[in-house]
Symmetry: C2
Subunit: 570 residues, 2 copies
């Protein structure tokens, strides 16, 4: 395995064997360790000292179902701490099959100029991106596929990333026409923009899989893992996740009073039925769109959809829960067509729908647009693409929007927007949002699935639950496994141990894996500490401790001492 390093100032491109110290690291684990090792933690996140890392998980390229995610990482311009954000699509798998543990983008051009990085089996080249500048991610990837082949994988930023807006994400393509898989969070699109990198094109790899040290051990475990997913009542072919996608939880989150509604001012949305996954499935099928499609080849969960309009024409693929919550109920929108339209616009502009939905919610509270006014939101998003002052404010995310318009009700932690579960009614998520070194993140340790084990409204058990989930997340994000595929490896960690040992021959035990996962968090926490983040940053916004949230009139009342001691037993 090798690491590809690209210096955007000198344009030097070099391959190196994976250094000894990074032997066991890939995905989120590699990002954490490489950033701690190689960049000054206090550096300007949009300056030359930050590094942007593309890395598959440890399972990348091995052909494990649901395990081909691409991790993207850097110091975040949004949280000022370490950031890993991962996406589906085929890039993670391709890098793995090419024997690349990571692509590390270093330095930045002295003047503002943009490049395309093209990675083939034989090597990598940089070329001017002039003809792609100002294009959204759809047009960019389409044009690049025309040039480099429809079977290549495209990682790109839209206008938001070019403008260095801290709400910018990074888009990856999947098979065929699939466009909008997102490493959305943490403003990594702005880091990519700051590196002068408009897109990365990865050729279709020649090899079918990575090499295995013990192919038999690997295959037995990988097969058992896939079978368990298929047998899972929630995830398998009859499961809600497959039938309704991530939107399957809209109803449940609304019922528990945690659905962000009109800038997090309510946990119940009166029109939530029209946003539910069950309703969406019917709508899509009636219109001859697609449900149960995959972001990664071979995924057995297949939670994705292709949302189409009344005439069967694609609006966006795929509409997911977080987007429904943040640009749906949070903006007072009761119409999936409108949600899908805003979703498409964000994807094309290169914006995180969570961060942008939260920012639009604040713009709404500031009186710039009324709840439910789709055309008003469309107009605001158009301004992002045009680069107007207002557009750039929105594109910079919730905290900047709140600051500019003098709004106090800003749902963020570590400067990053809170996703689709109000922490006042799902307090375990509040603990994760507050304490995760990744900032408010729905994949960093989401307590929704444990709502029957730990009372979402209670104080008890939340910090223990959050820690457990954060450790699992560290594993998922380091192996390239999708969040939804976690049940089999939680039930039987030996499955993951066997797959890793089969690929790498490490002879790990379950204890080794557990320590590995914990160490990811330890390294991230240390990076953030050196970056200057403190207990004062690891907090839920003040107003959420004081303004009761309907319908439970709940506040976030987990004591600071609990937040400060979450990692005591790490």
């Amino acid at each position: 395995m090798r690491i590809l390093r690209v210096d955007m100032a000198s344009k030097e491109i070099r391959y190196e064997p994976v250094p000894e110290k990074y032997t066991h690291f890939s995905g989120r684990a590699l990002i954490a360790n490489l950033l701690l090792e190689e960049i000054p933690p206090t550096c300007d996140a949009l300056g030359p000292h930050n590094k942007l890392i593309f890395t598959p998980g440890l399972l990348g390229g091995a052909g494990v179902t649901t395990a081909g995610r691409l991790s993207v990482g850097a110091k975040s311009p949004l949280t000022k701490g370490v950031k890993e954000s991962n996406a589906g699509g085929i890039a993670g798998d391709s890098l793995g099959k090419m024997g690349l543990r990571a692509v590390v983008i270093e330095n930045q051009p002295l003047r503002k100029e943009f490049y395309i990085l093209h990675i083939t089996a034989k090597g990598a080249t940089l070329e001017s991106a002039n003809e792609y500048l100002g294009l959204g991610t759809y047009a960019t990837s389409k044009k690049l596929e025309e040039k480099f082949g429809a079977d290549s994988s495209i990682i790109s930023i839209g206008q938001a990333g070019e403008f260095l807006l801290t709400g910018a994400g990074i888009s990856t393509t999947g098979e065929k026409e699939q466009r909008s898989n997102y490493a959305a969070r943490g403003g990594l699109g702005a880091v990519m923009g700051s590196k002068g990198l408009k897109a990365v094109v990865i050729d279709k790899p020649v090899l079918k899989t990575v090499q295995f040290v013990d192919a038999e051990l690997f295959r037995t475990a990988a097969k058992a893992f896939a079978q368990k997913l298929l047998d899972d009542p929630k995830l398998g072919p009859q499961g809600g996740q497959h039938l309704y996608g991530t939107a399957s939880i809209v109803g449940a989150v609304n019922e528990m009073g945690a659905l962000p509604t009109r800038n997090f001012s309510n946990g119940n949305f009166e029109d939530s039925t029209k946003l539910r996954g069950e309703y969406m499935r019917e709508l899509i099928l009636a219109r001859e769109g697609k449900v149960g499609t995959r972001c990664m080849p071979g995924c057995v969960i297949a939670c994705r959809n292709l949302f189409v309009d009344k005439n069967g024409k694609e609006i966006v693929g795929t509409v997911q829960y977080e987007t429904i919550a943040l640009v749906g109920s949070n903006l007072g929108l009761d119409n999936l067509d409108d949600v899908a339209l805003l979703n498409y616009m964000c994807n094309d502009l290169g914006l995180d729908t969570i961060e942008t939905g939260a920012a639009l919610g604040i713009a709404m509270e500031a009186g710039l647009v009324k709840p439910g006014d789709t055309q008003g939101f469309v107009a605001l998003l158009n301004q992002v693409g045009e680069g107007t002052a207002l557009g750039r404010v929105i594109g910079n995310g919730a905290e900047v929007t709140g600051r500019v318009f003098g709004i106090r009700r800003v749902p963020t932690t570590l400067g990053q927007a809170i996703p689709g579960y109000d922490p006042r009614s799902l307090k375990g998520n509040g603990v994760t949002y507050a304490t995760s070194p990744q900032g408010a993140d729905h994949t960093a340790g989401n307590a929704f699935g444990a709502r029957k084990e730990v009372n979402p409204l209670g104080k008890e058990g939340q910090k223990e639950l959050s820690l457990k989930l954060q450790i699992i997340s560290a594993m998922l994000d380091s192996t390239g496994l999708c969040l939804f595929a976690r049940p089999p490896v939680i039930a039987d960690p030996q499955l993951m141990v066997d797959m890793l040992n089969g690929i790498y021959g490490w002879n790990w035990t379950k204890e080794d894996l557990d320590q590995y996962n914990r160490n990811v968090l330890r390294v991230e926490i240390e990076f953030n500490r050196r970056a200057g983040l403190t207990f004062a940053d690891y907090r839920i916004p003040e107003y959420m401790r004081e303004e009761p949230l309907a319908p439970h009139n709940s506040v976030f009342d987990i004591p600071d001492s609990d937040l400060d001691s979450v990692f005591e037993k790490l």
Copy 2:
């Protein structure tokens, strides 16, 4: 002495004797101790838990020359730390004579609404500010004087403070027509706005001075102090400070290569001669404006001016050095009429000229306006008053403007704009900017005056110099003494000790005074620590360590270890 507390939620107004624990505190010392004692350091600076404090220094109301400054303090929405900003005018003197150690504004209205606080000898009242909303500070204070009397003192915010813009300052009136004395820094105007307070009106006090415990001791020291100021070659009637005001240093700062020029991209401004104090004096006198006027009655330095246009009509009183640097050379403006116009606009809108000049410099670098394009800058400032998105961005200061427009060259520390001395060519100031608990501030420990003792371009002696100056600043800001009046009390601290003992009967020694001053810093540092600020915040911007500044091609190269150990001997 009493403290007046006003609860802006309940509208309760109450007087209390100065609590035992605050006996020795006034001005900056009171602000630091009261904030540490009474507010959660991590609170939202624009939320209900912050407190806004108006307090004269310990000498306030005693009739000491040049010692009537009003300190305003709160947790800063700009730096997120403790903030004290002080202004001339007559409010500090009036509060002292009324026997008020402080006015503390607590809590905030539940809905956005604004009030006028009227303080008389008999008591205080709140009344609606509806008829003043949207007015600048000139119209506001004029209208309030018409209602409450021309001899009252008006403290007010403009549109910037109403909009909660973090570049907003607080304006105080002086004698007669004098309008624009500013507690400019730290975004305290936004805190005042968040409290729903448009203005404070203080009646002309009945008493001539405070009561003295030992009037003879006081008078002897106060008289000696005034005489020493008069005899000082720089400050007295023939001194540059009196003749040319603070602008007397334009030439020297330019020569040392530290004059902020075109967004801090050069330390030399080719047209600086047209911005010099000597030139300004001639210009003003030729136009029959005024020089050598006072912001505080009885001040013997009298550094103020009334800048008039070609027809002798007032543009603004007063044009000062920091404004000349930040909205003059920093914007590529070579014309004092233009500087005066922008100065007036900032004063009227209620904006800090330092923060706003820095923000405009960034807007210039972002291509929104060209260097030297006065009308372009006027148009941007007009947008602040109109509350457009772009106007609000600018009004929020340098850091927000840089973030929104993706500009890396943002001259701030602790989120607050660096004043008129580029730290690459006046490194002692760099140490102060980086380490002061007040953030980048020209009054927190300005090394310009010591440029012949410590080489401004060298590394040696800077941290020791900064510490010495920061301790002195703590004394000045706690006693209400103007920065310019420091030479006599530095040469002979017993003068200050005698004045204080004369008023209060504390029997302090010089050592007591020194410890008092140091303790102000200790308390502020502790507040900031609890607020979550760390070494990572106490830094000069990355680009200033890497981009050499003409004409010396100097970078800021004081090691971090020096910055981290400035207060070791505090």
